[in-house]
Symmetry: C2
Subunit: 350 residues, 2 copies
């Protein structure tokens, strides 16, 4: 056990998360186990997303499709869906093919919020926790396992909107009209998320990412008032347990507030200049990102230039984890992802 | 004629666009003639969007639904659709009810770009130009007429994606893979947009807004390389002809570059803090915005506080035009829009 901890600590991904020097910039990809991989599409032919998420063996196998196809990766993210945590809370989720997820009993009132049940991860989330244990054994010494959860706000957007949204008007109306019910909802979600991530760390996740994917739809005042206190509590609950990555998209105006809320690493989307963003965040935090996912669709020489541009902006400062600014697009050629990993690793880090 | 010019120049909206002091902060709303208005919905029962856009009388009547329902407005924006300019270029557009617009012959190759026809506004865009002439007569001395067009990039997203998009992967792939065809496309669109806006000014539009609504999906490098030179040319073509508003959403990381490209007024969405954004833009430019459209759905006291917060951030500095950060949502209560106009006008401007 002691040996495995020592080995884990030397992984580049974990070194970078602590802003320690590394021999090569660590690289992984959001949605690296996803539809762009033939092996993943094959698995999906016989199993739904929720089936895979609920079954430790299947979820581990899904995560391993990326590791097998792209052995150069510096981390294996567990396969799960951010909405899975809502099921034990009493929410019914449906994944219609070709569309986004649908919530069959969306939250619209204080009473709906009060009816949400608390989550006990070891009882309610055996799929991802079991998958992390399997991955930890399979990958011992090779790469760390990355755990994750959706952030309370991003989960709340699905809960209140009932699915993906264009303008997020329902969720904004809810928070602005019923601030107490909103606070209750975010508190419950925050507890569930913190418990789930703590359990993932206990199961063997060496680092965890909190996906606040849609938080960029909020203005600065709304973020400060309706989201930041809850994010702060999530990161406080994880302190000393596991290093954390705090990710969102469209967050150019929110970065300082996200940094205040917490996270050892701040995930940047592709819209911000990495060096400018890092300067704003300050030297005491690591950053992850920030290649545009669509860059992986470009011819290899152009893709290479764009990867170099991101690395140039990071300039070899300790504390950069290479990643996309959001998930891999389904139409991405696998060989472009492999070439990207090679390009990042080939770059000399001072 | 001289009298009308003198009257026009005294409109608050035009004063603010030149950063001159005003008695009250001018206010108008993007999509102020839209589905939230019963009178507009009535008009749409018997006419399609494209029918209204093509007919000067109908387009003027559509614009007037807002002026009649909300007489406190400081400007009347002509009714048109940003995609209308594509029709004379040879593009077929279909508005399916409930969905976004669809391009039936999207642009995918250099040959598709080369086949696009140039636009002669007085021949090809009689609807909006005629509507501006009618509105100018009807509103003489009451309020200025606002003209507009979509920006080349935003038009290109529809042309290449074939409609609204989630990730804009096709248009990003096109620009990154075929930079020469992209440059040709943007040059053609830039010519058409500049010609259309010049013709709108000649027809009587006292100010024009360029909607680069989706430009915020681009990273900083892509904007600088693939968009900024074309925007610069559009604003250069309009210099001395008409004051200009340069608007986009999700532009928190692009504001300085948009400012460099041009515009007397920079339109801000709701994600940025107005004071921070204005500081970054510098004192030599006016700003427009930046209330979250969903704030109009909130109870009036909360709406009032949010309007005050925007006005507080503008702090009475000459050069602020009050508006939303994007268009009015269809579910917005008309009386909330009326109350917002009153609240903005009631505020003492130093």
């Amino acid at each position: 056990m002691v040996v495995s901890v020592v080995v884990s600590a030397s992984f580049r991904l974990l070194q970078a998360a602590q802003r320690k020097p590394v021999d090569q910039t660590p690289v992984w990809f959001m949605r690296q186990a996803g539809r762009f991989l033939p092996e993943y599409r094959e698995l999906r032919k016989s199993h739904s997303i929720l089936e895979i998420c609920a079954d430790p063996e299947l979820a581990a196998a899904a995560a391993m499709t990326a590791v097998k196809a792209l052995p150069g990766l510096d981390g294996a993210i567990v396969f799960s869906d951010i909405l899975q945590i809502l099921l034990p809370m009493g929410i019914k989720v449906e994944f219609a093919p070709g569309e986004g997820p649908r919530i069959l009993n969306p939250v619209g009132t204080a009473a709906d919020v009060a009816a949400l049940r608390p989550v006990e991860p070891e009882r309610d989330l055996r799929g991802p926790l079991g998958a992390i244990r399997i991955l930890r054994r399979e990958l011992e010494g090779r790469m760390p396992v990355i755990g994750f959860a959706g952030a309370p706000f991003t989960l709340a957007t699905y809960l209140v909107e009932g699915g993906p949204s264009k303008d997020y008007a329902k969720v904004k109306r809810f928070m602005g009209t019923e601030p107490r019910a909103w606070d209750d909802l975010m508190t419950r979600l925050g507890h569930a998320v913190a418990a789930h991530l703590s359990a993932q760390a206990a199961a063997g996740a060496a680092i965890v990412q909190v996906f606040d994917s849609w938080v960029g739809v909020l203005g600065v005042d709304d973020y400060r008032r309706f989201v930041q206190p809850h994010m702060r509590r999530v990161f406080e609950a994880l302190r000393g347990k596991v290093p954390t990555i705090h990710f969102g998209t469209g967050t150019a105006a929110l970065l300082e507030l996200m940094r205040e809320a917490g996270g050892d690493v701040i995930g940047l989307d592709w819209r911000v200049d990495l060096a400018d963003a890092w300067n704003r965040l300050g030297p005491d935090v690591a950053v992850q990102g920030n290649l545009d996912p669509s860059a992986l669709l470009l011819p290899l020489p152009e893709l290479g230039r764009r990867i170099d541009a991101v690395l140039d902006r990071a300039a070899g400062r300790p504390g950069h984890i290479f990643n996309l600014g959001h998930g891999i697009l389904p139409e991405t050629p696998v060989e472009h992802v492999a070439a990207a990993i090679e390009r990042v690793h080939a770059r000399r880090v001072s």
